[in-house]
Assembly symmetry: C2
Homo-oligomer: 357 residues x 2
């Protein structure tokens, strides 16, 4: 029956960063789709929307008035998932012999949730902003990271962007969020566990080594510059998932040289332009930064290797998404096209944004 073919035979791939698996079914890409169709984003938004709670000068739902900001704007989320002012949690009768305290375990979590507007303009997105404007966003993130590191005892600052209605984003005004919490959240925690055990076993950084492997045979690399690589990871779950990886071992935003910062802004712009061009639509995704905790414990600041994950749901065209449901929730994540096929597709599109041609 021939030899095993990664482009035609089902297989699982291992994610060493989170110690998890994905099922890949490349022969299944021809499946027709009769299910739910997504709406595409309304083009032709105004530069200023008087009903938007993020536009400069507008009043927010809970009362405050936004300043007439001219670049970025940071404020505390009016409906924050964590807050500073709450009593400490003490587990009642923490006695491991007691079934209840053994099985019903909880922790209190204090913190602060920020909203960060990328631009005063209601109708832009990262791929439609200049490299200098994106650098300004990076500077805003860096300043917030520094501020929380200095002024709080919180553990981690998770910066992330939900883009597009299909990703639960309720306002198209370009913005991201940053949730700062007392606890290290699960995803970065898993990554630190993997980075730690890889280092213990091999003496090197998992992500430094991974960058080397991918550069040796660049079939999954989408785009790169001197300081960063954007690639579809071997173990990608979402159809067009990518990872932006610092080429040198750099722990966090505050450790970047000016050159690295410009290079990162450049790569974010180029990658998101390609995303928009893929299906000629404002490409939805959740994106986020993983880096050193603001208050690192033990070896975490040595282990940390700055990277960004992009998780976009679209599969085939602007209206057909991948659903991670049923088997994915109960069994394990599943994808159809391979990481290499996805990288080919993202590489094949033009570098200039389709709206700017």
């Amino acid at each position: 029956t021939g030899t095993f073919d990664f482009n035609n035979d089902s297989h699982r791939r291992y994610n060493p960063l989170t110690d998890s698996w994905v099922l890949v079914s490349p022969h299944r890409t021809q499946r027709p789709w009769q299910g739910q169709q997504e709406k595409t984003s309304a083009d032709g938004l105004p530069e200023y929307d008087p009903t938007c709670y993020l536009c400069p000068g507008n009043v927010r739902a809970t009362g405050p008035v936004n300043p007439k900001y001219e670049s970025t704007f940071v404020f505390v989320n009016d409906y924050a998932a964590v807050k500073v002012d709450q009593p400490p949690y003490e587990q009642s009768g923490a006695d491991d012999d007691d079934l209840k305290s053994r099985l019903l375990q909880a922790q209190g979590t204090r913190g602060t949730c920020f909203v960060i507007c990328f631009s005063p303009k209601h109708n832009v997105t990262l791929p439609l902003m200049s490299v200098a404007e994106i650098e300004n966003v990076l500077d805003t993130w860096t300043a917030l990271y520094e501020k929380m590191k200095t002024e709080t005892t919180f553990r981690y600052l998770q910066i992330f962007e939900n883009k597009g209605a299909v990703m639960g984003c309720s306002n198209p005004h370009p913005h991201c969020q940053a949730w700062c919490t007392e606890n290290l959240p699960s995803e970065p925690a898993k990554e630190f566990t993997s980075l730690r055990s890889y280092k213990a076993q091999h003496g090197t950084c998992l992500l430094c080594d991974y960058a080397i492997v991918e550069q040796q045979d660049p079939i999954r690399i989408v785009i790169q510059n001197e300081s960063f690589i954007a690639l579809v990871p071997f173990w990608a779950v979402w159809p067009f998932e990518t990872l932006i990886l610092a080429k040198s071992h750099t722990a966090s935003l505050v450790d970047f040289s000016p050159k690295q910062k410009t290079d990162l802004a450049d790569l974010v712009q180029k990658l998101t332009i390609r995303y928009d061009n893929l299906f000629q639509t404002s490409f939805p995704y959740s994106m986020g930064l993983h880096q050193a905790p603001i208050n690192p414990l033990q070896d975490e600041s040595q282990l940390a290797h700055f990277h960004m994950h992009f998780y976009p749901p679209l599969l085939r065209g602007a209206t057909v998404r991948k659903f991670l449901v049923g088997f994915e929730m109960l069994g394990e994540p599943q994808r159809d096209l391979t990481a290499e096929q996805a990288a080919d597709r993202i590489r094949a599109v033009e570098e200039v944004h389709y709206l700017l041609k």
Copy 2:
């Protein structure tokens, strides 16, 4: 600043079954929603739809003709994610000193994917079927489990249902899927790891103990009968997530007594009726069974404790869903209302289906 209040203060809860955490933000339930609205399911479907590829007597996309079945109907998925006929995978030069074989790890996976129609009627769903008809579905699952156990060397049979367009279901004809794979998928694998270490540490079954704890103070129990409990687990992620738990330590479908099988059908019916009544809509979810592997290794058949997970996305009404995006993908899952509040809500609705009143 007072004492910690689970109904008002942010906290994390631990899931001992999958060794993971969820962030709970109960003070955030008042957040307004301006984002994407889901379409509700088209009511008034016909009992027979000539264009449906699952209705009796119809031709499927790839050519085969469905029999004129009168109860359940099982066939191999025309676009299966795994297949029987593929060459075995051999990792080339598996040498752990080589960066490539260390970081790019894969496994071949053979298997079979089945589709299981619950009924010849295009316009019913589990909550609209009789207990006897649901028992017949359980019998069909049991027969398939037995068949795959006897006739194959595959490891696991994952039975799951995606219900509703919002859960990626492309056909409303009542059906589920069963993916049979050479490998134990990640989710049941994590559960076996937890069940094993709990047993080693405490000498008992984690899920038997959990059933005891929840019965002592039934604030999260939605409904129960002699053999099964349906509850919102302490560590639920989805707003109205539930777990159906066998009260006695039973490994799989084939181990149930006739009484247990009737009780399970009864509980599935009653739970899904309550779900539909919650927002007076055909309640979408992904649901699945976790049980002993069809070809168990080591202690797996002793450890296995039959249960079903229901993961429904709706949050507030028939059109507003919870998105597990941004922070959930990059940080950790987050919910607003507590498990106890969700159980209260499901308990409060009527037992009779709103369409049958």
